[in-house]
Symmetry: C2
Subunit: 402 residues, 2 copies
């Protein structure tokens, strides 16, 4: 008998038909002799429409009120799923984050789980119930509802798995696993049967739309196996686990991010100017993908950032204002970043072979970055797809054939 | 400075426009120097559509899951209203029944409020906030969400008013007060400016669609004045309060209920048969409007009940089955009941003048019932409107002219 946490995303619970299909699967898992805890997201599209509703009313709604509002989606899914399982003759009981006292930090809209008390879940599991939990939400110190940010239900599932020492966490979604590249861009992309925690975190950071990063970090910390799979095909998906006995591929996937820009600040007068730039970046809570620092011919500081186009445009105006002439701000739009992800990638001198790919195609790279687990190239957006295909062919397909 | 509880029903919070109008009114009340607590219902139509959604999935959903599901409607209203008030530059904070620990009995779907701790409300009121509370819901002993049944938000408002010794409770709805009769049936019906708790309870019991009865019972017990009024016209409505210095009208209103039936059980063999009948009534939790007991020519028991047509049909089959020939069950469909309501009505011998009205119109009465505060006549459904108009003319309009 195993203790299994199953998480179902919005598309899996969006209407009565999908709920019935999901309920049958949960019951099947239980009838195989397992104990089952289920974590659900809001019905597909609901969170977005609630946010839209709120913004209609208030352009900057308070985090507390927004979280109270957003938390209803998962409550609806959880109750309806419990009713569906009951109707099929099985015991099920739903709980909200507040009812389970899932304690989080105080930051509304982006809280972090601190603690889950397992007592109520265990009691009901022991009585033979399927326990259904609302994903994405908890309560802060004062007992007010908080939400965990986009994709937070994955984190709830893994955190519950960790709190109850579950044997595995199954994340059901509308894709059937993690691929070596986005199959819409690279036709020959293939599903990765097994991948390590670090690799998934790196892939997510480099643009692959897989799991909520924090969920994988928790899984890594508590060594919980995650099985990412489809609730449409129900086929075996991708296992994310500690990398023992794992297929020793060097490059696990090619990922990409589009709609980026390069922001360059050069001829910076002195250190205080540099501080002003970094201050503006921090104050605006920007998601900087890459950063590069250099010194120009005149010995003056030069900084380059890769970030979302929208954010780059906004911040460039702000920087011009703050620098008051003590530096020049340049912006380079319509860029994309293609990355190769895999453990130990840096030590394998792949840079040369990728640069050859760029050269052969006359693609101009705006910035290059390498870490232990990834190699990233910032190129014009129009070249992203062809570079991605070329890198996939060179670094993944060829290796598989070899 | 007064402490005012304002309750807004579903039509008052159903979209952004209505929310803005309501928010402006709340702010206006506060700016007049009052402290304001607001209780909200679910957006109009939402509770019905959630029930429909649940029934699609499960014909008899568990009370606990249904209550979890239904409670989201008020949460949505409460958060959105807080955001609307915030956007207008005023402090507001929303709370769920669970967050305020509104303790109720354990009966899901029809729980009764046991206790409201006022601390969190008071704290926030004292900080200058408008406090918004979800109506209709609380938590049972285990901390699970319960709902109070239809119209339960009225009860939440009055219970909060009682717990905080509010100066008044204002119930905003889509009608502008309590009328001497349904204005759609009796054109000359007029708004009642002041009415006592007992009279409103009696009117509700006799078919007037006014307030949730339990809310008036609590208001009577704690002597809280209720002001029932419209959130569309914002005009002065009807005050419900202890009847001191009140206009001394004998008959306060004419109410009616349609779609009733008379169920007659006669030639009952013995006492055990009578018990079987009463047992069946109790087991089925029927809402008996009137009951009459007699002894027929042969000295045998005869019982007559007035109840909803639908229920009468269902129970008549069941009774035939239980009596197994020891009694005869008859049913008389398409009836209605017209009642005159007013304190001390019985002692005023109005029966004679009403019977004359029936006689003049050749209306056959199936049953008559009188209490201290009401006089009811069960007549064929087709005669309900004309009898109501005649009674309104005779007992209310003539008295006003006199």
């Amino acid at each position: 008998m195993a203790l299994i946490v199953q998480k179902f995303g919005g598309t899996s619970v969006k209407d009565s038909e999908r709920l019935k299909e999901v309920a049958r699967w949960i019951i099947k898992t239980k009838e195989l002799g397992n104990q089952v805890i289920v974590v659900v997201s809001a019905p597909g599209g609901m969170t977005d429409s609630l946010i839209k509703r709120a913004k209609e009313i208030n352009t900057t709604p308070s985090g507390r009120e927004l979280d109270s509002l957003l938390s209803v989606g998962e409550q609806i899914s959880a109750s309806l799923l419990a009713m569906t399982i009951n109707q099929m003759g099985h015991k099920a009981i739903s709980f909200t984050g507040a009812q389970l006292n899932i304690k989080t930090t105080g930051e509304f809209n982006n809280a972090k789980i601190l603690e889950i008390s397992s007592q109520k879940i265990t009691e009901n599991i022991d009585r033979g119930s399927i326990v259904i939990v609302t994903g994405f939400q908890g309560v802060n110190e004062q007992g007010y509802t908080t939400t965990l940010g986009r994709g937070g239900s994955d984190t709830t599932a893994v955190a519950i798995g960790a709190a109850l020492s579950a044997d595995q966490v199954e994340i059901y979604t509308d894709v059937d696993g993690i691929y070596t590249a986005d199959p819409r861009v690279v036709k020959s992309a293939r599903k990765i049967p097994e991948i390590s925690f670090d690799e998934v975190i790196e892939m997510a950071g480099k643009g692959a739309k897989v799991l909520h990063c924090r969920s994988v970090e928790i899984a890594a910390k508590y060594n919980i196996d995650i099985h990412l799979r489809s609730s449409f095909t129900w086929e075996e998906g991708s296992w994310i686990r500690r990398n023992e006995n794992m297929e020793k591929a060097l490059v696990r996937g090619i990922t990409h991010i589009k709609d980026l820009a390069k922001l360059t600040v050069c001829q910076l007068g002195d250190n205080s100017c540099l501080q002003r730039v970094m201050g503006a970046i921090e104050d605006n809570n920007l998601d900087i993908k890459l950063v590069n620092q250099g010194i120009d011919a005149e010995g003056k500081f030069e900084l380059s950032f890769i970030l979302e186009e929208r954010e780059a445009i906004r911040i460039s105006e702000l920087l011009k204002d703050r620098l008051k002439g003590n530096g020049r701000v340049g912006i380079n739009l319509s860029l994309g970043m293609v990355s190769a992800v895999g453990i130990g990638i840096r030590s394998n001198r792949l840079q040369g072979s990728i640069m050859k790919l760029l050269n052969d195609r006359s693609i101009r790279s705006e910035m290059i970055s390498s870490s232990e687990t990834s190699l990233s190239f910032v190129v014009p957006q129009k070249d992203v797809n062809s570079l991605k295909q070329a890198m996939h062919h060179e670094l993944i397909e060829k290796t598989l054939l070899a």
